[in-house]
Amino acid sequence: MSFDAVAQQPKLQHLLQGVVAFAAVVCLILLALHRGPARRRGAAFLLLAPALLLLTAGLVLPGLRTLLLSFMDREGDARVGLDNYVWLFTDPEALIALRNTLAWVVLVPLLVTAVGLLYAAAVVRSRFRALALSLVLLPMAISFVGAGLVWKFVYAYRPAEADQIGLLNQLVVTFGGTPRQWLVESPWNVLFLVVAMVWTQAGFAAVLLAGAIGAVPGEITEAARLDGASPRQIFWRITVPLIRPTLLVVVLAEVIGTFKAFDIVRTMTAGQFDTGVIAHEMYDQAFRYGETGRGAALAVLLFALVTPVVAYRIRAQRSAG
């Protein structure tokens, strides 16, 4: 479909007004600051005010409202106590979402870090380091939705007698097997979704870890080599302990990202065939089924699960810095 500038005019005007309003606020602050040497505390407050306002309106208030809604019924009218949380831990479908999220949160950071670490260690001293790292970073340039669609095709099913359109089933057929419905057969289909996620994230881990490995002082490894350490010993006893802070950053970033995994599930299976995760189930309940209370309860659970990880990450970063 072509872009019709005339038909889109109202939207363009909205956009323009938004940009202009933003510029106006910035200008007003600059003007106010320009007035003269104000007290530093006043200036700091003025500069922080827009951010605080946006945080309150965009994060704190909706967060509190979500918490309230999680104790209400589907219309958000009547109090139901802990019913939504009871549902969360007893309903078979919600339990499957919890089980899958657990599997994702354990597997994705583990696999991403392992693949990234091995890849980084393999290429870091090679002549093609830059090329190899760019290649593995490429999937990161694809959106999760794009990656989901790519992998949906990789797993596509066609009957044995027809031409295969999916890469994986073509390989299976080439080696004499019969095509399988990878995305349908539970619980293994969860692993196939996890693979897609790992594919998008491994490059991020590899690049960060390659940087960290590259920064390990050559004197230390050289000394170890002179002492007769094998390459394997150097890797596990010298390199890995020295890059531990970076490893931690990678693992924690992946844990946080994986808790919120939504796009890949939505594009590949839409939560069908027992592949739902918390973030996706939350969307289904709140927006497709109109079960606002249950959706809010799932959101609160997600928040409660992610917060300690975020807090730990901030603390780890502080102590590292």
């Binding site: 510029a23 200008c27 003007l31 099913y157 066609r158 009957p159 349908v184 939560g271």
Partner: protein, 443 residues
């Protein structure tokens, strides 16, 4: 800093000017020269007003709608701002909650419409619209747009789901005739299977809606075996979801679809349905790898390009038969137009949508079925549309709405679909029906 201050002043001035220029100006269309505005005089003059419409139809379907009401818009001066969104079902809630409510929405599910009516968001239909609804549609149809005795909308689009698509040439070559009773249908099924072709094919993959073609099958068979009254009780949960009659209907469907001798023609074992997109479900009918594909009238759009539809063309459809020749149960679906505001121009637009004139004008532009009693089947764009309209207008027809669209969304668009997919994957009928029953929301 002096430069900064001057820049800031300049930008602020610019802003004020631009914002002033950017203020919305009145829309509205002008009648073209030589246009006959006679038929639209009754809707009055609303020059400079805008009615926003939000619906799920996009691309060509959206264009056809807009072409249809172009004259109405030009003559009344109303600017009809249409927006089609593939995520309508999820987004409408956000739009309404977020204060970006459209004036008129086309609801593809009465259950969804009912939710907004009960929440007090929708405006009851005006007396004029109610009179047009009474004149145009059967009580069955209007009942689906009525909540607590108040009419909120009018049927806009109708579709017939109880069709079986087949290849007339395939039937002719094997000396088969179109079955008129359920027993005859099973007879044809067995004959085709005996000749080495799997008689039925289906695809049920449809993103988040995966499974819906299966629930349609089950509803269709329940409507035939147990009758419309039991069907209504089941949909409104007066009898449990796992009632023995429902189990029997599911087992009947299972004896066809879960039977590797009968399905999935062209696609391998019966279980393969979960991986086949519903749009491709019937393709093997064309190659003779499958004899019959049960799917709604709108499947006409999913045949590969160049496929001709008609009684002596590449493919055609017959009504999924009832238990005997006299019964004519029809399962269908529809879209309902309802309004969130009651400004005069919105009322006028809603009134226009409720007329047979609108439905006829839309039918003449391309494939479209209306259940309005005032349309002439001869105006239908395709043979299947004509057949659908004839069925919908036939007084002997017992029309029932797709039950999964009427059930609470967490069942009708959730556990029932998912359960049906598990079921086709090999899970037993009772466990699936029991788990759907358990998921039914408590009042």
């Amino acid at each position: 800093m002096r430069f900064g201050a001057r820049l800031a002043l300049a930008v602020t001035t610019l802003i004020v000017t631009v914002t002033a220029c950017g203020a919305p100006h009145g829309g509205g269309s002008q009648p073209r020269a030589g246009q006959d505005c006679g038929p639209y005089a009754r809707y009055g003059e609303h020059a400079g007003t805008t009615v926003t419409v939000y619906a799920s139809n996009r691309d060509r379907e959206a264009d056809l709608f807009e072409e249809t009401w172009a004259d109405f818009a030009a003559c009344t001066g109303i600017d009809v701002a249409y927006e089609g969104d593939g995520e309508f079902e999820a987004q409408i809630q956000l739009r309404v909650e977020g204060g970006n409510t459209p004036d008129v929405a086309f609801f593809p599910q009465p259950g969804l419409m009912e939710r907004f009516a009960r929440a007090g968001r929708l405006k009851p239909a005006s007396a004029e619209v109610a009179a047009l609804a009474k004149e145009g549609w059967s009580a069955d149809w209007n009942g689906y747009a009525t909540v607590n005795g108040t009419l909120y909308g009018t049927p806009l689009v109708a579709n017939v789901k109880s069709f079986v698509w087949y290849s007339p040439a395939f039937f002719r070559d094997r000396g088969l005739s179109v079955p008129r009773t359920w027993a005859e249908l099973m007879d044809v099924t067995e004959k085709v299977a005996a000749s080495g072709v799997k008689p039925w094919c289906a695809g049920v993959e449809s993103g988040e809606a995966t499974g819906w073609p299966l629930t349609d099958w089950i509803e269709d068979v329940l409507l035939r075996q147990a009758g419309p009254d039991v069907y209504d009780q089941w949909v409104s949960h007066e009898i449990p979801f796992n009632d023995p009659r429902v189990i029997r209907a599911m087992d009947t469907v299972g004896s066809v679809l879960k039977n590797d001798r009968y399905a999935n023609g062209g696609y391998g074992p019966a279980r393969s349905m979960a991986s086949i997109a519903y749009q491709e479900g019937g393709t093997p009918v064309l190659s003779g790898d499958c004899a019959m594909h049960r799917q709604a009238s709108f499947y006409a759009e999913h045949w590969p390009e160049g496929t001709e539809i008609g009684p002596d063309k590449d493919v055609f459809a017959f009504l999924l038969p009832g238990t005997d020749r006299t019964s004519r149960p029809v399962l269908g679906g529809g879209v309902f137009a309802a309004a969130f505001s009651d400004r005069p121009e919105v009322r006028a637009f809603q009134e226009y949508l409720a007329t047979a004139d609108f439905a006829t004008a839309r039918m003449k532009k391309g494939p479209f079925v209306s259940a309005n009693k005032g349309v002439d089947p001869a105006d239908a764009a395709t043979p299947v549309d004509r057949l659908s309209i004839q069925l919908l207008q036939d007084p002997k027809t017992q029309f029932r709405f797709d039950g999964s669209d009427l059930m609470p969304a967490s069942v009708g668009a959730g556990t029932f679909w998912k359960g049906a997919v598990d079921w086709i994957g090999g899970k037993g009928t009772e466990p699936v029906a029991d788990s759907v029953e358990r998921s039914w929301p408590r009042p």
